[in-house]
């Protein structure tokens, strides 16, 4: 289940069989300067990808609540008016903290438009 903010951005699962791949279709309401996605919308997608990946990993590991500590987003290329994909990956899931990475791309997964590193506090169930 994605939160209301993901719905606002139009984010959906790209593939029913792949629970960590997200898709954000192009929309006028996601633009910053003309022709380019707003960095904040890309950052929002990356955070959502990180949270989805972490929830999946946590569900297989006893469950728990997650609280964001920080996020660092690096922007590599301008995001154009086309569908954007993102995937999160849990680098380490510890007892109290999780380190998560997420990448966003458009045409080619090997040419990311942005990437983020995030740290989350885990409140074990």
């Amino acid at each position: 289940m994605l939160p209301p903010y993901a719905e606002l951005l139009g984010i959906t699962l790209a593939d029913a069989a792949d629970p960590t791949l997200l898709l954000m279709p192009s929309a006028d309401t996601l633009l910053g300067r003309p022709g380019y996605l707003h960095g904040g919308a890309i950052g929002g997608l990356l955070e959502m990808a990180a949270i989805v990946a972490l929830r999946c990993a946590l569900a297989e590991d006893g469950g728990g609540q997650i609280k964001p500590i920080n996020v660092t987003v690096d922007y590599m290329r301008g995001g154009r008016e086309k569908p954007t994909f993102a995937r999160g990956s849990v680098t380490r899931l510890g007892g109290r903290v999780a380190n998560v990475e997420a990448t966003a791309w458009q045409d080619d997964a090997d040419k990311p438009i942005a990437a983020a590193r995030m740290n989350y506090l885990i409140v074990r169930a």
């Binding site: 606002l8 904040g40 950052g43």
Partner: protein, 149 residues
């Protein structure tokens, strides 16, 4: 008009017709500014919730507001608009935003070089001495020629 006769960059004037695009979706608006800082407002909206159990705002909208406030702070310090792109932005989430409250984002530009500007800022929901987020980032001017040794 030559650049010398243009009035200096005014963030309030720049967004007087409201913020379009993604900022419009979030209902971002002008709050205040000074020589090297700009403050924007993010009104609370149920659609921005990231944690439905607690009604807490997602962090993405705060990221968007801080990106925009620090971006405007660069042009305000510079005194004119120059195209640039966000290179990186880091946010520390000090505490969750209080459900129902408007969040104010204070963005400051503290250094500008030939091709890079350095920014920082805080977000709060009423009391500037009790910030909910801290940000640091850089922008790259996209009209500058590549630097050569």
């Amino acid at each position: 008009m030559t650049p010398e006769t243009l009035p200096p960059f005014d963030p309030q004037r720049f967004i007087r017709h409201g913020v379009g695009g993604h900022g419009g979706l979030l209902k971002l608006s002008y709050h205040a500014h000074g020589p090297d800082w700009v403050e924007l407002k993010l009104p609370y909206q149920a659609a921005l919730i990231g944690d439905p159990d607690r009604g807490v705002l997602a962090s993405g909208p705060i990221l968007t507001m801080m990106d925009m406030a620090t971006s405007l702070a660069v042009w305000t310090r510079l005194g004119r608009f120059r195209p640039h792109a966000t290179l990186d932005l880091r946010i520390d989430y000090l505490r969750p935003a209080t459900p129902g409250k408007t969040v104010v984002g204070h963005g400051e530009c503290y250094r500008i070089t030939r091709s890079i500007s350095f920014v920082r800022g805080q977000a709060h929901d009423g009391d500037p001495t009790d910030p909910l987020a801290h940000v640091a980032g850089t922008f790259m001017f996209t009209d500058a020629p590549a630097e050569r040794a």
